[in-house]
């Protein structure tokens, strides 16, 4: 009788034993401190978590791509890890990455090394995106981690650009493709213990409030969602607010303000702008 109980309990005990290989329940969760401005890190509960999908939404020009750049630069320079960046809108600008790196270190070699750790894929439609994600899942990520420098981050900028033209109307394939993309991203996040950061656009609902694009079905995909907005009073200023709209770790609707200028040096004065540069102290 006791043997039978221990037989029954055996597998359960194995399941709880973290040393057993193939055990998914207690896989270690790393978090990547993203070293963004102090405020943004606070919002994200000190960083991006591996195994999870985080989403940035915001109107055009609200700073989503800039935050992605900053995260990529921080991870490749400070944590010295490889970053995979899937760019669907041709928004990746290596000059801007270099600019951000130059504020972190004046050493050219370090800058070049950090730039080499950021790998960019350019895909422009949903089928290529799926091909890319499936390739990454099957052999791309393993190859990258073998070559030295583990991969801990995947960024997709932006998911909505390729998916929004497929949804709605008489097309019956949209939802299936959306779910396939979601499935691929989740599997990559979980199987390879990677933090996935993606950007999404915003639409206005009936009352004129901003909500994230791609509908209700997509809203279940990311674990954490941050909404970026311009500060309303000034027309051209570099201040932005970040609002936590979905999180499993912190209270929602936390708002933090940050400045896009934080990631670059003082601008040349040849531009006669209406902007005032607000220098914020570094954390």
């Amino acid at each position: 009788f006791i043997n039978r109980i221990s037989d029954l309990l055996g597998p359960i005990i194995d399941l709880l034993n973290p040393e057993k290989s193939g055990n998914r329940l207690l896989r270690e969760v790393f978090f990547l401190q993203t070293f963004l401005t102090h405020n943004l890190d606070k919002l994200l509960d000190s960083g991006l978590y591996t195994g999870e999908i985080t989403e940035l939404t915001g109107s055009p020009g609200s700073g989503k791509t800039q935050v992605c750049f900053s995260v990529a630069v921080n991870i490749s320079h400070q944590l010295k890890q490889t970053v995979f960046y899937i760019d669907t809108k041709s928004g990746m600008c290596a000059n801007r990455l270099l600019q951000m790196l130059q504020t972190k270190t004046p050493n050219m070699e370090e800058q070049m090394e950090a730039l080499q750790k950021i790998k960019v894929f350019r895909v422009f439609d949903v089928f290529s995106l799926l091909a890319c994600l499936q390739h990454l899942r099957s052999n791309g990520l393993q190859k990258a981690s073998v070559g030295g420098g583990s991969v801990k981050t995947l960024m997709v900028d932006s998911v909505s650009a390729v998916l929004s033209s497929m949804l709605g109307g008489k097309q019956n394939e949209g939802m299936s493709l959306l779910m396939q993309v979601a499935g691929e991203l989740k599997m990559i996040a979980k199987d390879f213990n990677i933090a996935v950061l993606m950007t999404n656009h915003v639409t206005k609902d009936g009352n004129g409030h901003l909500k994230a694009g791609l509908g209700q079905s997509w809203s279940h995909v990311p674990r954490t969602r941050v909404l970026l907005q311009r500060v309303e009073d000034t027309e051209t200023s570099s201040l932005r607010t970040a609002t936590l709209t979905k999180s499993s770790r912190q209270a929602c609707h936390l708002v933090e303000e940050f400045d896009l200028c934080h990631w670059s040096e003082e601008r040349r004065t040849s531009i006669s702008g209406k902007r005032k540069l607000e220098e914020r102290s570094k954390p």
Partner: protein, 362 residues
């Protein structure tokens, strides 16, 4: 490649049949012959051939590479430095844009009527042809006109002014040689013009662009003036409009990246009423704002014309002043003139015409 069947670019009904027949992964299908596939999946022979063709195309080296090859940011940096940008002849705007309109990205220019969008587009179509030794790109331009606002005489005037400007700058023999070939006729002959009357023609034109661009690889600029006009009138189904526009935007970005060209789109403005206040915002809706890589908004402030860089991945926001003269799109004068008659601003006392009148010449 471990492509799953649902992720292939095939018709949905076809995919359902294939999955029902038991094919889950693309590698299951690669060794099939059309007749075999026909019997197993219950599709017609032509459809089977089509499916295998798509698979073969997908497995082609260059297709595969596009999706699976990555560049490091360092490679991209070198590429960007090689690509260059198109100057606008307004140095303040060029500074704000980081050298000019960037190649490999889409730029959207929004503005009220008469503020200078078409002028800027025509200026860019001339500037892209400036030879490499003068700092230009030496490429051709394709101008897709949907509004009918393209005036050849105006482009000829701008070309003349550009040639004169280059003549003044020519220093060494290489530049002088290039200058001999740079004539107004040559500039006009390197400008391809397409007139689209409605959105179907515009979509068809963009669909046929890859073939055109492979025949004319020197094209470095594609201008669509304007993209708002055919989509704004006579369009009942707004969600379809959004879908078409998003699809169009992605196609244009793909062309810009793969063929190394700059794509410039012109948009109109519409009024948004909120909280009892009205504001001018770019037309075509909220989600169109995400489509272009860079957004430039041209607006009036009294009699001054201002350009604001509203959205850019690499440049900071800035607002600069410009003016339109007989020679084209130029910098605004530094200090404001006291009397409006002698001002170099080309629209005194509410004369918002696109062509400056004779008395405005300074």
């Amino acid at each position: 490649m471990h492509r799953t069947v649902p992720s292939l670019p095939l018709a949905p009904s076809m995919k359902v049949k294939l999955i029902n027949a038991g094919f889950q992964v693309a590698s299951d299908l690669t060794d099939m012959r059309p007749l075999q596939l026909c019997k197993e999946a219950g599709i017609s022979q032509e459809e089977a051939v089509e499916v295998l063709q798509v698979l073969r195309d997908d497995g082609q080296p260059h297709q595969q590479r596009a999706a699976t090859e990555s560049l490091t940011a360092l490679d991209l940096l070198h590429q960007e430095q090689a690509l260059g940008s198109i100057v606008t002849f307004c140095s303040a705007l060029d500074d704000a844009l980081g050298g000019g309109v960037p190649v490999g990205k889409t730029t959207e220019i929004c503005g009220s009527p008469g503020v200078g969008k078409t002028q800027l587009c025509m200026q860019l179509a001339v500037d892209v042809q400036i030879p490499v030794c003068f700092g230009g790109l030496g490429g051709k331009a394709l101008y897709i006109d949907t509004e009918g606002s393209f005036l050849v005489q105006r482009v000829a005037d701008m070309a003349e002014a550009a040639v004169q400007h280059c003549t003044l700058l020519a220093e060494d023999t290489e530049q002088r040689q290039a200058l001999e070939e740079l004539t107004v006729e040559k500039i006009l002959s390197n400008l391809f013009l397409v007139r689209c009357h409605d959105y179907v023609e515009l979509l068809a034109e963009v669909y046929l662009l890859p073939d055109f661009l492979s025949e004319h690889p020197e094209v470095r600029l594609v201008v669509i003036d304007s993209i708002a006009f055919p989509f704004r009138h006579d369009f009942e189904d707004l969600s379809q409009r959004t879908r078409l526009l998003n699809g169009l935007a992605q196609q244009l970005i793909q062309l810009a990246t793969q063929h190394s060209l700059a794509v410039v789109l012109t948009n109109q403005m519409t009024t948004r009423v909120s909280n009892g206040q009205s504001k001018l915002v770019p037309a075509l809706g909220e989600s169109w704002g995400h489509a272009a890589t860079q957004r430039l908004i041209l607006h009036w402030e009294g009699l001054r014309r201002l350009a604001s860089l509203y959205k850019s991945p690499s440049q900071m926001e800035a607002t600069i002043q410009y003016q339109i003269t007989v020679q084209g799109f130029r910098d605004a004068p530094d200090e404001p003139r006291t009397t409006p008659d002698s001002s170099a601003v080309s629209s005194p006392s509410g004369n918002h015409s696109k062509r400056p009148r004779m008395e405005d010449l300074s």
